[in-house]
Amino acid sequence: MTCEEYEEQLSAFVDGEVPLPESVQVFAHLAECGDCRMFLGALMKVKKSTSEEEIAFPEELDEDIFAAVKQLRPVPVRYNLKQTGFLGRRLSWSFGVAATAVIFAFLVGGALGSFVGIRSVHEVVPTATVKYGEQGRQPAAVLIIYSLPEVQSTGIIPAKYERVQSDTIY
């Protein structure tokens, strides 16, 4: 083997990459070659110098990197939050609309009902009073009759309803 070949072995030797039988041969060469010993000495100096070198990490980079990661991070999370927000809004919107619709229906229905009811009372009561006006006053009976739908639409009291006394109803 030439010195250059031994030097290549020495390069691997300082990295612990030479098997024992070959390293014995390298050691035998070192015993008789000053140039290769000098080469080995230089390799060891490089190892020592690099292992002792201290390099400080620029701490401001931590902040930059984590801030940048934060920007990347929300992609799936932001999507989830959007969904939640959207659902939340839709839910509250639906709830609000439903509540408004109920109140509106209640008010309109009430107004219509009152209007129809008053009209029905006025239409039904005189009819009933006239038709069944033996006693001349039927406020309780009128109220009961008013609550019956078929009476509201026809204004006629079906035969199945029995007349009762006012004080019994109240």
Partner: protein, 180 residues
Amino acid sequence: MASDSDLVRELRQGSDYAFAALYERYKLPVFRYCLKMLRDVDAAKDVVQTVFLRMYEHRDDLVFADRFKAWIFAIARNHCFTHLRTRGRTMELKEEVEQEGEVGAEDQLAQRDEAEMVREAIGKLGPEDREVVLLREYENLSYKEIAEVVGVTESAVKSRLFKARRRLYDLLKPLLRERG
């Protein structure tokens, strides 16, 4: 202490803790490698940031959990070489002028600390020689890991390391002889 493989698996499942742990473990080695490769603090910081953001962005693709160390240095290496290429000829010319000036200042160099001489000599190596020396001497990567980072065989790593060390020796020999 959790292994790299465990942390990578956790990272793939979306663990921010795993990212922070891997970042703490590798931020200095990656920065040191980039700084030595680029010899420019701001450029090294840019590359380090790119490397870790890429790691986070592509965490789902980290399929080589047991070879994470080689993977992260390979990413850093690619970005360093891209940076060196884009830095272009202007910078190379500047470096040549600086090196010519340094030859004239050899006496000054001889008086410096031996460790500093070694570091300067490593800085004078070409990027391809320098990278194998850095990965071996500073980061203590095995030949197998260096082969994965650089994308060559283990025997090619052995050969490249020898050639790089031989050039380093040629740079250092006159100075070491003067010192006896």
